[in-house]
Subunit: 439 residues, 2 copies
C-alpha cells in the first residue's frame, strides 16, 4: 500500500464525534479521500507514501469551513467602516457594487479572498454573490472547496439588470456547474425575505429542490428586518419563510441574530442549517445571535466570516475566538461557549450546516482529504496544555503552514501553490486605485 500523502509528527485532532486526538498522529490519503487515521509509536516506521507532510510537532486537523461569505467583496475591504448600517449599505456598498462589480473585478477579488482563506486554513467556503460564474472559476483554480450561488434580488443587480431573470440566471449557474468538479457545489442564494418577494422565493425554492441544492438566505439579521417583515406578513421572518415552504433541511439561514424561541423551534423542526457570522454582526452592530440557545436546542450551526466589507477579514481562527469570548461576556458566564464547541462549529458544525457532513468537517476514513497543519513552534503557542484551547484563544490564521484540499497540496509552507500571489494582489490593487479615486 502506497499512500499519495502521509501527514505525520503532529498532535492529530480528528474532530470526529468523540473528539479523538492522537499525540503522535498519522493520516494517510489516497487520491482525494482519507484512507487511514492513527497514531505512531516512537521509532515506528512511517507508511509508504509519494509525499510526506511533516507537522513538525505542531497540529494536524481538519480544514475550517466558512459557512458564509461574499468572497468578491474583498474588493471593498475597508472602503467604508464605522458607519450607520443604512448609510453603509445604501450610500457606499450598493453604489460601489453598481459601478464596480463586473465579471473581471469579481474574478480578481474572489481569487484574492480565496488566497486569504487558504492561508488561514479555510478549506471550504459557502459563497453568494453576482457574476458567480467568475467566482466559480476563481475557486476552481484556487483549489478551494466551495458551495457557490448566484444572488437573487427583486431589483436590478450587477449582471442581472432585469429582475425577472433573477431566478433563471441562478438556475443557469447551477446548470453550468453541477457535476463539473469534485470541489464546486452550486446552490441557490436568495438575498433575504425583504429583498425577494414571495413569488421569487417560491420559484427559487422549487428550482433548488429540483436540482437537489442548498438554498442560502440572510434571515433575521437586524431588528429592523424583523419589524418590516412583521408589518408586511404578521409573522417573524422565519415564520413567514416557513409559511411559504422556504424552510427545509436544504436551507441555510444566515445570521438568525433575532431568532425568537418560536423561530428556534421552526429551525429545528424543519432541519434548517444556521450560519452565524459573529464578527460581521458585531461590526455592523446587528446584534448577538442566541448561539448558545441554538446549540442547546440541537440546531445544526456553523460559523462564517461574511464578506470583507463587513468584518473585514476571512480568518476563521479569529472567528472562533470572537464567538467564544462574545457569548461568555454576553451571558456573564465563562462557561457559555467553550473552546471545543467553537472548534466544532468551525469544522463539523459548518460542514453539516452546508450539507456536507458526510464528506468533510473531520478527519475520518472515507471523508475527503481536507487537512491542514499548524506551526506551533512560536512564543504565542507556548506552552500548550490543551491544543483545543490554543486553536481558539491563541491561533492566528498566519499559523497555518500546509493546506491539503481534496487530496491536493494547495498551500505548502505558507506559499499558495495554485496562484501567483504577486499577480493576484496587483490585479486587485489596480481595481482599488480606480475605486478610491472615484469614491
Amino acid at each position: 500500500m502506497i499512500y499519495d500523502i502521509v501527514f505525520h509528527d503532529g498532535v492529530l485532532l480528528t474532530v470526529n464525534e468523540s473528539c479523538e486526538a492522537h499525540e503522535n498522529g498519522v493520516v494517510g490519503v489516497v487520491d482525494n479521500r482519507i484512507q487511514m487515521v492513527g497514531a505512531r509509536t516512537p521509532g515506528e516506521e512511517l507508511p509508504r507514501a509519494r509525499r510526506y507532510i511533516d507537522a513538525c510537532g505542531g497540529i494536524i486537523m481538519p480544514g475550517l469551513v466558512n459557512t458564509h461569505t461574499h468572497a468578491a467583496m474583498a474588493l471593498f475591504r475597508g472602503l467604508a467602516d464605522d458607519l450607520p448600517l443604512l448609510s453603509w449599505l445604501e450610500e457606499h456598498m450598493f453604489k460601489a457594487e453598481a459601478r464596480w462589480v463586473t465579471p473581471e473585478s469579481v474574478y480578481a477579488a474572489a481569487r484574492l479572498a480565496f488566497a486569504e482563506m487558504l492561508l488561514s486554513g479555510t478549506t471550504t467556503c459557502c459563497d453568494g454573490y453576482f457574476f458567480e460564474d467568475a467566482v466559480a472559476r476563481a475557486a476552481q483554480e484556487a483549489g478551494i472547496r466551495a458551495v457557490l450561488a448566484q444572488g437573487i434580488l427583486d431589483f436590478p443587480a450587477p449582471g442581472v439588470p432585469d429582475p425577472s431573470k433573477n431566478v433563471s440566471t441562478a438556475m443557469d449557474f447551477i446548470g453550468n456547474w453541477q457535476n463539473q468538479s469534485s470541489r464546486i457545489i452550486p446552490g441557490m442564494f436568495c438575498h433575504s425575505p425583504y429583498t425577494c418577494g414571495e413569488q421569487t422565493l417560491r420559484r427559487a425554492r422549487d428550482a433548488a429542490d429540483e436540482a437537489g441544492c442548498l438554498l442560502q438566505i440572510h434571515v433575521a439579521e437586524t431588528r429592523g428586518e424583523v419589524e418590516k417583515i412583521n408589518e408586511k406578513t404578521g409573522r417573524s421572518p422565519f415564520a413567514y419563510l416557513e409559511s411559504i415552504g422556504l424552510l427545509t433541511d436544504k436551507t441555510l439561514a444566515v445570521h438568525a441574530v433575532w431568532a425568537s424561541e418560536e423561530d428556534v423551534r421552526l429551525i429545528r423542526d424543519n432541519g434548517v442549517g444556521v450560519s452565524v457570522t459573529t464578527e460581521s454582526e458585531m461590526k455592523l452592530a446587528s446584534g448577538v445571535a442566541p448561539l448558545p440557545r441554538f446549540l442547546e436546542a440541537g440546531l445544526v450551526v456553523g460559523l462564517g466570516t461574511d464578506g470583507c466589507a463587513s468584518n473585514n477579514n476571512q480568518d476563521m481562527f479569529q472567528e472562533m475566538d470572537f464567538v467564544a469570548k462574545l457569548h461568555k461576556v454576553n451571558q456573564l458566564d465563562p462557561t457559555a461557549l467553550d473552546a471545543r464547541t467553537a472548534l466544532h462549529l468551525a469544522t463539523r458544525g459548518g460542514a453539516a450546516a452546508v450539507g456536507l457532513e458526510n464528506e468533510i468537517g473531520s478527519i475520518e476514513v472515507g471523508k475527503r482529504a481536507d487537512i491542514i497543519t499548524i506551526d506551533t513552534a512560536k512564543p504565542h503557542w507556548t506552552p500548550m496544555y490543551d491544543p483545543n484551547s490554543h486553536l481558539v484563544y491563541v491561533a492566528k490564521g498566519s499559523d497555518v503552514k500546509n493546506v491539503v484540499i481534496d487530496g491536493h497540496l494547495v498551500v505548502e509552507n505558507r506559499v499558495v501553490r495554485t496562484m501567483n500571489m504577486g499577480q493576484v494582489i496587483e490585479e486587485v490593487e489596480k481595481w482599488a486605485l480606480q475605486i478610491a479615486s472615484s469614491h
Copy 2:
C-alpha cells in the same frame, strides 16, 4: 547630520494629536529619540543614516502600549479555560501560582511573553506580578519598555510569605530599579480593594507618592467585587478608594468594568488613568466596560491584554479589533467606537494612562524612538483604502516586521534580536511539562 536610523518608504501614521499621516513617510532617529518626521517627494534622496529601515510600501507607526499584563502568567497560558471565575481563580490559578511561581519560572515566562509582545508590535507594557525583579531583568534584556511593579496582597504570596512585608518588598523593588535604565520604570501594584486592606492601600499610596511612581490597581472588575466593597464600606470601589486617597493622577485603575456614572466623575476629577482589558473581560465574563462613556467624559484610557491565563495572548492588534467590534454590538450602534479611536487607545491613550504621554505613544520629534513597521504585501491587507481601518479590522500581530525601541532594533524582519527564541521556548516548555504532570 547623520541619523542613527532612518525609516522610509511606508505610509507614516504619526498618531499625533491631529492624526497626521504621510503617504511616503520618513522618520529620523538619533540615539533613543525621534529627531525628524516628514515625507519624501518621489526621487528625493534619503537623509544620511547609519541604518536604514525600509518599510517596503507598508506602514510606519508608533509601537503599541499594553497598559495591563502579568507577563509571567504566560506560564499558565491555556492551563484552565472556560471555567466559572471562582473555580478558575481558586482551584486553578492560585494553586498553580503557589506551587510554580519562582524567580526562575517568572524570568523564563516573562521572557517568552516579552518575545510575543515584541513580535506583535508592543513596545511598552505595564506589568504587575510577583518576583518582579526577575520580570525587570527579563524586560531589560528583551529590550522592551516596561512599567513594572511588585504585586501587593494582604495574604501570603509567592516570594512574600509574610504579608506584613508586602509594601516594603514593593518599595525595595522600586529602590532597585529607579533610574537604572531608560526603559524600566518601576511602580506600585496593589492587587485590588478586596485583597488589600485600607492600611495597606494607604501605605502603598504614600510610598508611591514619595517615589513619584504610578500605582496600578484592579478596580470594579466584577459585579461581585462591587457588592463586596459596598457591603464593607457603603461605597462603590472607586468611591471607597477616593475616600482613602488612592485616586490620583498617578493611579492606573485596571478594568473599571462596573464603573457607575458617579465613578466616571471621580475618575475624571482625580485624573486617574484607566486600563480596559477587553478580551480578558470577555473571556472571564466580567462584563463590558462603559468605554464609549469613558471617552465621552474625557477620561485617560488605554487598552491592555491582561495576562495569558485570561486572554490567552498578548496581541494588541487583536485587542483593538475586539474593542471596536464589542462596543458596536453592545450599543447596537456601528459608530460607537471607530478604528481611529481604537488605534488612539492602543498608542497615545495607553501612553497617557501609564503617565508616559510626553515620551511615547506617537511619532513626534523629541519623543522616544519606539517605532514599528508593518508588512502589508499580503492578501488580507489588499486593497488598502484606509490604513487606520486595516490596523484595527485586518492586522494581525504577525504582520509586524521591524520593531525599534528606545532607538534599538529589537525585531528585524520578524526575528527577535535580543533573545535566543529556541532557548526561550524550550525553557518554558520544561516548566510546563512539570506543571502539566501535576495538574
